[in-house]
């Protein structure tokens, strides 16, 4: 059964049964960033720790880092984002996924928010 978790930095983690997870930025995040013009993804095979800056997200005006919400090994990156970073603006929660990771510490997921808590956090900050 897959679960969807969120961080305060507006990233999402969608786990699968096999110990892997997809990682992306939330719809709220893409809206805040505006039209994305360039995304730099990490290399497949990289071992990364939670909080590592693994990707760079460039909008017209500025560059932001994607910080790893969990630790693990990068087993796939979304190469579509090379030629069309706009996919993230169109479908941040689905086709706009950034990275697939093999989790090294599933307990990290316990510290993350579920959808209800994340949405509540968004409303509170408005």
């Amino acid at each position: 059964m897959s679960t969807l978790k969120y961080t305060e930095d507006h990233e999402w983690v969608l786990t699968a049964d096999d110990g892997t997870a997809l990682i992306g930025i939330t719809d709220f995040a893409q809206e805040q960033l505006g039209e994305l013009v360039f995304i730099e993804l990490p290399a497949v095979g990289d071992e990364v720790e939670k909080e590592d800056a693994v990707a760079v997200i460039e909008s017209v005006k500025s560059a932001s880092d994607l910080l790893m919400p969990v630790s693990g090994e990068i087993i796939e990156v979304n190469e579509e984002l090379d030629s069309d970073p706009g996919i993230v603006n169109e479908d941040a929660m689905g086709a706009g996924w950034f990275i697939k990771v093999k989790l090294s510490d599933e307990t990290e997921l316990e510290e993350m928010m579920d959808e209800a808590k994340y949405m509540e956090g968004l409303e509170d900050s408005e």
Partner: protein, 374 residues
């Protein structure tokens, strides 16, 4: 973000920006719209195809009056003001004793006075500078009660023709007093977008109504400061504090064209402004660095502060403005390099996040300027 102890100022259009759901940010002590719901890229593209309305009321508007006011201002700028014809506008620079640039500004001969527009971040400095040096030679009045709107884009002319008389024959860098819906405006046909357009000075009491009238025109959309920056960068226009500062001279910043003939070494009123000897020396002998355009390969922007190196990793320059140009649909940047590298076509590297990105020196602008010349 802003220091909470600082009082943040608002322009006369503040409530309108909020109503239009602008994203407001602190800028030079003012709460200003960086973008509206349309977003940076669409606002930029709209300005190049139709007409965009910008609130630039944070900038300083100053009226200089007096019999010898032009001569007085000439003591502070390397530009001809004495022969600036009535209702004509000129780009100028305040220089310091080292020949460095204190600010860039626009000066208009408004008939019975000079109308000066300075950058918001330098407003206080510039006013003090004028008061200190020419305060006894002319009257200096800061137009606190006036807003400044910029209507920019290829359809700006059509919009103005519809709303008032007297703009059809107004060419680039000329001024006029006009009326829109009974509201008096002082306008210049100029701007910071590279497109045809107008800067409109209007009393604060009328600013919101004027803005609404303009926004009601089908061609016009509200545009924020974010797009203002990408528009000017594509057209190779300098941003004070980035591409120009007190460590750069007009010769190094490739602004020789602004240094009018009469003030050059062989002109009728040569020199006579701060740093003149240094600047004239550079005109005669050359400079060590020059401002140029930087074009990165690929789509990754190369931004302000990126160091420029040659093939052997020697540091030879720096990017002073950089971002993504929606019209170019690619990265656009400008910066300074050692003069021997300031040749279009020269290939260099920019250091971005510790990696070498191939770039080449290009002539500015990236997007051709479209001023109305009649």
């Amino acid at each position: 973000m802003s220091d909470t102890n600082e009082q943040i100022l608002q322009t006369a259009l503040h409530n309108l920006h909020v109503e239009l759901e602008a994203k407001m940010v602190p800028f030079a002590g003012y709460s200003m719209p960086v973008q509206y719901p349309m977003g940076l890229a669409r606002e930029h593209l709209h300005t190049r195809t139709q007409a965009g309305l910008f609130d630039v009321s944070h900038m300083g508007q100053v009226k200089l009056t007096g019999e010898k006011v032009a001569e007085a201002l000439e003591t502070l700028v390397p530009v001809d003001i004495v022969d600036l014809q009535p209702m004509k506008q000129r780009y100028a620079l305040f220089t310091n004793e080292q020949g460095g640039i204190m600010d860039d500004l626009m000066v208009t001969n408004a008939g019975d006075h000079l109308f000066v527009v300075v950058n918001a971040a330098c407003k206080d400095q510039d006013i003090n500078h004028m008061r200190e040096h020419i305060g006894n030679d002319c009257e200096i009045e800061v137009l606190e009660d006036y807003a400044l709107l910029a209507l920019q884009g290829p359809l700006a002319g059509a919009v103005m023709s519809r709303l008032c008389t007297g703009t059809d024959d107004l060419v680039f860098m000329t001024a006029a007093n006009i009326e829109i819906d009974g509201m008096e405006c002082f306008i210049t046909r100029s701007g910071y977008s590279g497109e045809d357009g107008f800067e409109i000075s209007v009393h604060n009491d009328n600013a919101a109504q004027l803005a609404r009238t303009l926004l009601a025109q089908p061609e016009v959309e509200a545009i924020g400061l974010g797009a203002r920056d990408s528009l000017r960068l594509e057209c190779g226009l300098c941003l004070y504090g980035h591409d120009l500062d007190t460590e750069t001279t007009p010769v190094e910043s490739s602004l020789l064209w602004a240094l009018t003939k009469s003030r050059r070494a062989d002109g009728e009123r040569a020199g006579g402004y701060p740093g003149a000897d240094i600047i004239m020396g550079q005109m005669a002998n050359g400079v060590e660095k020059k401002r140029i355009g930087i074009k990165a390969e690929g789509r990754m922007p190369v931004r302000d502060g990126a160091v420029l190196v040659d093939g052997d990793e020697n540091e030879i320059g720096v990017v002073t403005s950089g971002g993504f140009g929606p019209t170019v649909n690619g990265p656009v940047a400008m910066g300074y390099v050692k003069t021997q590298y300031a040749i279009p076509g020269i290939e260099l590297f920019a250091i971005v996040r510790s990696k070498k990105v191939p770039v080449s020196v290009v002539k500015l602008p990236f997007v051709k300027q479209n001023y109305y010349r009649g």
